[in-house]
């Protein structure tokens, strides 16, 4: 029975891992080939191993020395040392990580990515190493050291030739423990990472847009295989030990060999890495999964293609692209601002371009350094919307020859909805998809806040709050607060748009100033108003706040929790594009609509001042803005680039063709499936006209807005909790009691099987 219990727990522990193992074979050995051919993944694995081996080696050595020293300490100083040793063990790892960030920023360890991570990982291992070694050392005969010293050995000599050899088993144990903890860590690595990819950070980046990279499923299988091999070796080895042979030099030799091999696995790529001159490396820092590097090996890999192209063009055979990714504008900002990372090309959002240009962190992009064709092929409609943050002004005049940034991706904020879920709820809500689409075009973002819509012909009133608990909102403060502000002024926005349309106004002559002012109001009154609206929204709509989970929920046909939600058009484009059934047939239940007067966002090419290979950066921009390459990239990312669909003669470019391929029909309305998909990928004309860009907030207001969002999440959690009610607590306490009962029973059974001495009468 005991064995069954142990096996059961082991099964639960291994089940999730086994799922990955199972999935790793879903495409034959394809994922394995991918793992061993993707340089980015290999580098991450190498770094992870290197950090784990070096950090736990350092920790083991320091801990062994420390243990030797500590046994000579007085009682009081020993107690203090052990208490400090206990600190990182009991301290929450997120606190340790954050405190380390403050330290590294304070020390100015800017460009020492790998060193920082190794130093931080020593901290993960060190306290545990000391706790492993110290008790073993206490068991040693103290006289041995004294004897060595009396015989004339120096303390160092006594340490290396008397203490260390006897401690080898404990040191190996300490090393393995440190190694294990280092491999397991995510938080400390993520917090202190300045552009060094490791297994954890690559996985984290990937899941923010899609899923665990397939290659990492293969990696999991390999690690599991290694674990099994290690267990078998241990089994055999310990068998020998039992036969009376001591833990021999052979074992030590094998372990040393494994360690060297592991470290080599990390060091070799590192050396290769540092041998390439900087002029042969282009360092790019882009959003995760925001360029065509297909993880399944199908389709064009634009970064690899660029490498080949640039090698051929310059004749530099060693040229390569070092491509790193981030998941948040703030991450990018702090990497350049605080850590002064020497990236050549970065992709900040519009407000960050403003902020960085204002802080002299950007070089301007000289337009004459780009191919004339490329500059001519940029989409004028998009450029006309972005000049207020890209224009370089000197003495009040705009310089036509240079810009702070060129738009890379352009999109809107809108509502993605699931027609299956809406129809499924129709009996309860009285709102079917057609009605919902009418509401959407009439109410815009109002459907997120419980606004009502009255059908003019029938007089029926439809209430969007019927969708309570079935909608999603963004955790991101700028988006949620921005949309709340737009909703607060919805009437004003609608009036100005209707007036413009009534006058037969065209796209070019709409004055966005008012709309822009509304979206960028940052006074305390507006923030308080936004707070009230968002609080009221919690009560009326009980939205689910997410940043990435929403996409997955909408993509999963079995997950019918959400009818609609607030989405960036690029996420909607991605989710809709990948929304296929088991036979790879496109499903049409997901649609996207960007309301009139929405927020227009961009992510941009920009050159940070610390970059060292500007030539290659320009070449890369040329390459990406070529219409054919851009079309491939748009198709992969699911978002529009600032490349025009028609050339000067009015003929379709590859980008224009792509739009037609997607089935865009000018005569159909925005709610036909094909048009709604195209509108998610390519911001529609009306959205380019009736929209505003959200500018950079001043620091005080930015903090206020961020604090507001944390507070909103606290309140949303409280509310959901209250609707769940307290049974959850009781349920778990009950379970704990039941388990405690099982414990007693198990212990009773086991102890009963032990041979007993007959009781004495």
């Amino acid at each position: 029975m005991a064995a069954i219990f142990i096996l059961l727990v082991l099964a639960v522990l291994y089940l999730p891992v086994l799922l990955l193992v199972f999935l790793s074979f879903s495409d034959g050995l394809q994922y394995y080939t991918e793992l061993f051919t993707n340089a980015h993944y290999l580098q991450a694995i190498g770094n992870t191993l290197l950090i784990a081996v070096v950090a736990s080696l350092i920790a083991t050595i320091i801990a062994t020395m420390a243990a030797t020293g500590i046994i000579y300490l007085g009682k009081k100083s020993r107690a203090i040392t052990m208490a400090v040793n206990q600190l990182p063990i009991v301290n929450a790892d997120i606190v340790t990580s954050f405190a380390l960030v403050l330290l590294f920023v304070g020390l100015g360890l800017n460009n020492f990515g790998l060193l920082k991570l190794i130093l931080a990982h020593v901290l993960i291992a060190l306290p545990f190493c000391l706790l492993t070694i110290l008790p073993k050392l206490r068991q040693l005969d103290a006289n041995l050291i004294d004897a060595a010293l009396d015989l004339g050995a120096t303390p160092m000599k006594a340490f290396t030739s008397v203490i260390v050899p006897q401690l080898v088993p404990a040191m190996v144990q300490a090393f393995l423990l440190g190694f294990t903890l280092s491999l397991d860590d995510f938080v400390i690595t993520q917090y202190n990472n300045s552009g060094v990819p490791t297994i954890a950070t690559v996985v984290y980046g990937a899941i923010s847009r899609r899923d665990i990279p397939n290659a990492f499923k293969a990696l999991t299988t390999i690690i599991l295989a290694v674990i099994i091999i290690v267990l078998i070796i241990m089994n055999v080895r310990m068998g020998r030990v039992r036969q009376g042979k001591k833990l021999s030099k052979k074992v030590v030799a094998i372990i040393t060999a494994v360690v060297i091999l592991l470290a080599g696995g990390g060091i070799v790529p590192l050396i290769v890495h540092n041998l390439t001159p900087r002029s042969s490396v282009l360092k790019i820092y882009n959003w995760e999964d925001y360029i065509a590097i297909p993880s399944d090996g199908e389709g064009r890999d634009l970064v690899a293609e660029f490498e080949a192209y640039y090698r051929a063009q310059t004749g530099d055979k060693n040229f390569r692209v070092e491509y790193h990714t981030f998941t948040d504008n703030e991450e990018l900002y702090s990497k350049i601002k605080t850590q002064r990372a020497d990236y050549d090309l970065i992709f900040p959002s519009e407000y960050l371009v403003e902020k960085m240009a204002g802080e002299n962190l950007l070089q301007t992009i000289k337009l004459d350094q780009l191919d004339a064709d490329v500059v001519a092929g940029l989409d004028a409609a998009i450029l006309s919307r972005t000049t207020d943050y890209t224009a370089v002004t000197a003495d009040g005049a705009v310089d036509p020859n240079q810009v702070w940034a060129i738009p890379y991706m352009v999109g809107t904020v809108g509502i993605m909805y699931d027609t299956d879920v809406i129809n499924g709820m129709a009996t309860k809500t009285g709102i079917d998809t057609t009605t919902f689409e009418q509401m959407l075009s009439e109410l815009g973002f109002g459907v997120l806040f419980g606004a009502k819509y009255t059908d003019a012909t029938t007089g029926t009133t439809y209430d969007s709050s019927k969708f309570k608990s079935h909608i999603t909102m963004k955790k991101s403060a700028r988006d949620s607060v921005g949309i709340a502000m737009l909703y607060a002024q919805a009437a004003r926005i609608r009036d100005s748009i209707t007036a413009h349309q009534a006058q037969g106004g065209t796209a070019d002559d709409f004055d966005n100033t008012e709309l822009s002012n509304i979206l960028n109001m940052q006074d305390q009154f507006t923030i308080d108003q936004a707070r009230q609206i968002l609080q009221e929204q919690i009560r009326v709509m009980n939205p689910f706040y997410e940043n990435d989970n929403g996409k997955k929920a909408f993509a999963n046909p079995n997950d019918t929790r959400f009818a609609y939600g607030l989405f960036w058009s690029c996420d909607a484009g991605l989710t809709m594009g990948e929304n296929v059934d088991d036979n790879d047939e496109q499903l049409t239940n997901l649609k996207f609509y960007a309301p009139y007067g929405t927020n227009l966002w961009t992510d941009n090419f920009a050159l940070p001042i610390y970059g060292k290979n500007t030539d290659a950066a320009y070449a890369f921009m040329n390459f990406m803005l070529d219409a054919d390459n851009a079309a491939a990239n748009i198709d992969y990312v699911g978002s529009q680039m600032a490349v025009a669909g028609q050339d000067a003669d009015g003929n379709n470019t590859a980008v224009g063709d792509l739009k037609d391929d997607y089935g865009f029909d000018e005569n159909a309305d925005d709610f036909s499936y094909d048009n709604s998909y195209v509108n998610a990928v390519f911001p529609p004309e009306y959205a380019l006209t009736y929209s505003a860009i959200m500018h950079n907030f001043d620091p005080v207001q930015e903090t206020a807005v961020n604090d507001l969002m944390v507070s909103i999440q606290n309140q949303a959690a409280q509310l959901t909790e209250n609707t769940h009610g307290s049974p959850q607590v009781i349920q778990w306490v009950f379970l704990a009691l039941v388990l405690a009962g099982v414990v007693v029973a198990v212990v009773y059974c086991v102890s009963h099987r032990r041979p007993q001495t007959p009781p004495v009468n």
Binding site: P16, G69, L87, M234, G239, N706, D707, Q728
Partner: protein, 265 residues
């Protein structure tokens, strides 16, 4: 020749360790304190601290984090103690080590990767994310931290104690409650703490395994950190430190109480 001073020069072997711990443990914690009151560069004040403690919704988040972490730690205890006990009672030493290795080995696969795998598995089984799943995830992830110290303490109990107890006519159950359980209290408590403190501060687990209603204090710190609000994050970090400190003090007091009552007899 020994110096009259009671400071032994051989203890200088610990110098690199002290240096490291001072720079990487003590100094950063002091910096936390500094940043909490530094108010993001606007001079020293209690503004951030006041802001935190006057927002009543913060208390709910603290309470929720404590509750979730407590339940996870309790589950770990209920599962981990019998497991450690059973492993310690396995006859073959070899099998003991192998079982322990097998329990710890999944950690070679990164914690984040395993969390996502668990999420994928439960999604497949149709189990929605939420508090239940979060507690299960925490329990699975931190179980080794419960088992290790408990196992070490249980195997450290001299066999003779158990034999004496049996010789004196105690029933094995009595022996367990009177001898083994009290003597393994220390391991149990350090195990409990080693599960409780990471659980109370988790952020990626609650993000992936939890839902709306499991917004935890770690997630809050993470949001502040990402948004570069260092002072706000420092205040939350201090709150977490206080929680950890309090739980250490509480559990120590509890174990002392237990020892007085339990003891050998």
């Amino acid at each position: 020749m020994k110096k009259p001073s009671n400071f032994n020069r051989r203890s200088l072997f610990a110098l690199p360790y002290w240096l490291y711990m001072t720079v990487f443990v003590v100094v950063p914690l002091l910096m936390l304190l500094f940043f909490a009151f530094y108010n993001n560069g606007h001079g020293f004040s209690f503004a951030e601290v006041t802001k935190y403690f006057t927002d009543s919704s913060q208390w709910a988040t603290i309470g929720r984090s404590l509750r979730i972490a407590f339940l996870a730690a309790m589950l770990c205890l209920c599962l981990g103690y019998p497991l450690a006990y059973l492993i310690a009672k396995i006859k073959s030493q070899k099998l003991q080590y192998l079982t322990l290795m097998a329990l710890v080995a999944p950690m070679w696969i990164n914690g984040l990767l395993r969390t996502i795998a668990l999420k994928d598995l439960t999604t497949l089984l149709g189990w929605a994310a939420g508090e239940d799943l979060l507690i299960l995830g925490l329990t699975i992830d931190y179980l080794p931290f419960m088992i290790m110290p408990t196992y070490l303490v249980i195997t450290g109990i001299p066999r003779s104690y158990l034999e004496v107890s049996a010789d004196l006519g105690a029933h094995p159950v009595t022996t367990f409650f009177k001898v083994e359980l009290p003597l393994s209290m220390a391991g149990l408590i350090s195990g409990f703490l080693m599960v409780f403190t990471p659980a109370v501060s988790t952020y990626y687990m609650s993000e992936y395994l939890g839902d709306q209603s499991t917004f935890m204090i770690g997630e809050q710190l993470n949001t502040m950190f990402i948004k570069d609000n260092k002072s706000g994050a420092a205040v939350i970090a201090l709150v977490l430190l206080a929680i950890v400190g309090l739980s250490v003090v509480l559990t120590n007091a509890l174990s002392r109480l237990g020892n007085r009552r339990g003891g050998l007899y």
